[in-house]
């Protein structure tokens, strides 16, 4: 095998292809093959073992878990390099001709949760239009396209929007109080689980496909509000109207500064045993995290990647091939 093989997250895929293409163009090595298929599948392939018919790099939109590291170990993949190369912002956007929205997590929680807090009590959610959720919102039917449970984005959505909104609206405390859990931990767990219980009456629609599907659904349903990646939105600003969260308009800058709340890190994991064996692997990862590529003015940022403020540290780490330690 002459070319580098990578697999994994479809969120990372566009960045990885941009890098692979530039790498193939400017180096004497063949263009790496970039597979998609999900972070989980990518990490599974990475952990299948070392050798020519296993991949070299797994792209991931979420951090590797201890279980995956254990699987890797049991298959002889002992050393993995963890490279965080930037952040992905997650935005809410609706049809361009529709009204503007300025959300807080509590608004979205109030619209989508099965049970909401009202006057200090937990009541079933009956809101039909956004106006029912909060005065000042338009009388537009609530219809939100949220990522399906297969997507890593869903996890971010759940924790940073729904749970945050749950806490902000006071529902979390009510849930916790109502929980029959034995200790505080169990109660918290119950409360989180209750927060994450979303309506099943069609107000929230899970999307197992990609952002293009969400976009098409919004085109078919003008009332719909979708969850998108920042880069996807940036390529479709003429079709989508983005909503602010906590008053902040999402952009590469606001996410990088930490003002916009909904974002997540993006990673790739390198099988260290393959460095020095698969031609060009070292060059590729160096190239990936170089300032020319992943820096604030590089093509990735142009495309919508939020650059990692600690990129220099990462570059250093990649250069020295430092394998990751135990998970913190």
């Amino acid at each position: 095998r002459d070319q580098i093989q990578t697999a994994g997250s479809s969120t990372v895929l566009p960045y990885a292809t941009i890098v692979a293409e530039a790498f193939g163009e400017n180096f004497k090595f063949p263009t790496p093959v970039v597979e998609s298929g999900g972070s989980g599948a990518g990490r599974k392939k990475l952990c299948e073992g070392v050798g020519e018919n296993t991949i070299d790099i797994a792209n991931s939109s979420s951090r590797i878990t201890q279980a995956d590291i254990d699987t890797c170990k049991s298959n002889g993949v002992n050393e993995i390099m963890e490279v965080r190369f930037g952040y992905d912002g997650i935005v809410f956007a609706s049809e361009i001709k529709g009204p503007e929205f300025a959300f807080t997590p509590a608004d979205i929680y109030g619209a989508l949760a099965s049970n909401v807090a009202k006057d200090g009590k937990i009541v079933p959610n009956t809101a039909k239009t956004w106006k029912d959720v909060k005065a000042g919102f338009p009388t537009q039917n609530i219809l939100m396209f949220i990522p399906g449970t297969k997507h890593g984005t869903r996890e971010v959505f759940d924790t940073k929007v729904i749970e945050a909104g749950c806490k902000a609206s006071g529902a979390y405390d009510l849930f916790k109080a109502a929980s029959k859990g034995a200790d505080d931990k169990a109660k918290e767990k119950d409360a989180v689980s209750a927060c994450n219980d979303l309506r099943k009456d069609g107000a929230s629609v899970e999307i197992d496909g990609d952002y293009t599907e969400t976009l098409a659904r919004i085109a078919a349903n003008k009332d719909g509000i979708g969850v998108f990646g920042l880069s996807f939105y940036q390529n479709n600003t003429d079709k989508l109207r983005v909503a602010t969260v906590n008053g902040i308009t999402p952009s590469v800058e606001t996410v990088a500064k930490g003002e916009y709340p909904v974002s997540r890190p993006l990673y790739f994991y390198v099988k260290k045993a393959h460095i020095g064996v698969v031609p060009g692997l070292q060059e590729y990862i160096d190239f990936f995290v170089s300032d020319d590529i992943a820096g604030p003015n590089g093509p990735l940022a142009q495309y919508g990647l939020v650059p990692d403020p600690e990129l220099a540290k990462t570059q250093e780490m990649v250069k020295n091939d430092v394998a990751m330690g135990p998970l913190k």
Binding site: R1, D2, S9, K28, G37, G38, S39, G40, A41, R43, K44, C47, V50, G51, E52, S60, S61, S62, T65, A67, D68, T71, G76, N78, E79, G148, T149, K150, H151, G152, R154, E155, D158, S193, N196, K200, G202, V205, E206, I207, D208, G209, E213, A216, R217, A219, A220, N221, K272, A273, H274, I275, G276, V277, V278, P279, G280, L281, Q282, A323
Partner: protein
């Protein structure tokens, strides 16, 4: 000698053997082939088979075994300390292989083989073989040994294969006698081939079951069996604590497939009947392949069609006026669109079957004053029933296995409802999405895909057995 050329030589030899065998057979009876047990061609065939088959089998076996042997011997040459920590012997071996191939390339270009390990990387780089790191001396030595052994092995293989081919050739030629039952020999061989082909289906099944069963067992270790089979909710969550009951998915699968078949079967059968019985030859020659295009359009196109056109239309024209909800993705959308895709499965196959019903049956019916449609309904369709059922089963199978149309047409939410305008989803969709998602691999959320696959396999097996019984009951043989 490259494998391609060796194969060609063996086949050429076998082809020559065919001609020679035939010649000899004819010669033995002085051209009077009536005295031969079998047709001369069969004598040729036996020579062909005896020459080609054992030799090619040997080659195949050799190619599988030789690398293992060389691997073992060369592997011993690499000192354990040369294997970097975290790396493995197999990775070093792949480097050895790459270097050996590069050296062969250098040799082929007439350049000098680098003398010591230090310059190897550069030299190989010049012929376009990239290496990850500099080469250690022991690795270089191993690579050279590897090259030498492969070369010898290759030569030995060529010789062995050719000798075997010639031996088979000679043996078969020597066996040619007028009384030699050449036809039976070659037919036995053909039959063995046919059996071999049928066993592919069995092996595939075995492979599928085996590749699903381990992970399924794994799944049931982390997720309770009863919850999977008896829970009525499907609600996977990222961080664990998911409900993974299969029933909503099974229900969605059945519902969507049923609607798809309700569209595809009548349309398909009526199309088939029209094409086979009414349409002129010209119309048929045009329409049939056109309908088959429907089966060739990628399902993503249907998916988009469902999402953008059919879904909103059904919502605006049916669901909302009827008060059945306002979801644009629905079982109905996916079913109708999938039905369109399945039309050719029913129509083309049924058309062939209907066309094969003997004319005399039609004559018999017309002769006592039946109209064409009566003839079709009461004589031709019953006669063609087993074939048509086969076509319908095939369509049903595709409906069960379809992903893209369901995702875009019916959505991804698992639900058990009778309302055809509700969004639902199928087992297959969930297999795909759980398998390609971002969830951790060893979590029940991902492993459930295997359990779903296996359950679906058993479930459809049951449906097929049922179908077989029904067909058996109504089968009617003509002539």
């Amino acid at each position: 000698m490259s494998i391609g050329i060796l194969t060609l030589i063996v086949i050429a030899l076998a082809a020559g053997g065919f001609l020679l065998g035939r010649q000899i057979a004819v010669g033995k009876v002085a051209g009077d082939i009536r005295k031969l047990h079998s047709l001369p061609g069969y004598y040729g065939q036996t020579v062909f088979l005896f020459t080609a088959v054992p030799a090619l089998l040997l080659m195949l076996g050799w190619l599988l075994v030789q690398p293992l042997l060389i691997h073992e011997r060369v592997g011993a040459m690499i000192a354990p300390e040369d294997i970097a920590s975290g790396s493995s012997a197999s990775l070093v071996m792949s480097d050895v292989r790459r270097i050996a191939d590069g050296l062969a390339l250098i040799e082929a270009q007439g350049a000098a083989i680098p003398a010591d390990a230090g310059t190897v990387r550069e030299a190989l780089g010049r012929v376009g073989v990239a290496l990850g790191t500099d080469v250690k001396p022991s690795v270089y030595a191993a690579a050279k040994a590897y090259g030498a052994m492969s070369a010898t092995g290759g030569k030995a293989m060529s010789v062995a294969v050719l000798v075997l081919a010639l031996a088979g050739f000679g043996f078969a030629i020597a066996r040619i006698r007028p009384a030699f039952r050449a036809r039976n020999v070659s037919e036995t061989f053909v039959r063995a081939l046919l059996i071999g082909a049928s066993s592919v289906a069995i092996l595939t099944t075995l492979g599928i079951v085996l590749s699903l069963v381990f992970e399924t067992v794994h799944f049931f270790k982390v997720y309770p069996f009863a919850d999977f089979f008896f829970s009525l909710t499907w609600n996977p969550k990222f961080g664990g604590g998911s409900d993974l009951g299969i029933w909503p998915l099974i229900w969605g699968t059945l519902y969507i497939s049923l609607i798809a078949l309700l569209v595809a079967v009548p349309v398909g059968i009526f199309s088939a009947i029209y094409l086979a019985e009414y349409a002129s030859k010209k119309v048929r020659a045009v329409v049939k392949p056109l309908l088959e295009v429907l089966a060739g359009i990628p399902t993503i196109v249907y998916g988009l069609f469902a999402l953008i056109t059919v879904g909103p239309a059904l919502r605006d024209w049916f669901a909302q006026p009827l008060g059945l909800g306002s979801s644009s993705s629905s079982v109905m959308t996916a079913g109708v669109v999938m039905g369109i895709m399945l039309i050719p499965f029913v129509s083309s196959l049924s058309d062939d079957i209907v066309n094969a019903v003997p004319q005399s049956l039609r004559d018999g019916s017309y002769g006592i004053g039946a109209t064409q449609s009566e003839t079709i309904r009461q004589v031709i369709l019953p006669a063609a029933l087993p074939g048509i059922v086969g076509a319908v089963l095939l369509a049903a199978s595709r409906a069960i296995g379809e992903t893209m149309i369901v995702v875009m047409g019916a959505g991804a939410a698992a639900k058990m409802s009778l309302n055809p305008f509700d969004a639902m989803t199928t087992v297959t969709v969930k297999i795909v999405s759980q398998l390609t998602g971002d969830t951790e691999f060893n979590s029940p959320e991902t492993l459930v895909a295997f359990a779903l696959g296996l359950t679906l396999f058993v479930f459809t097996l049951g449906l097929n057995i049922l179908a077989l019984f029904i067909v058996r009951k109504y089968r009617e043989q003509y002539e």
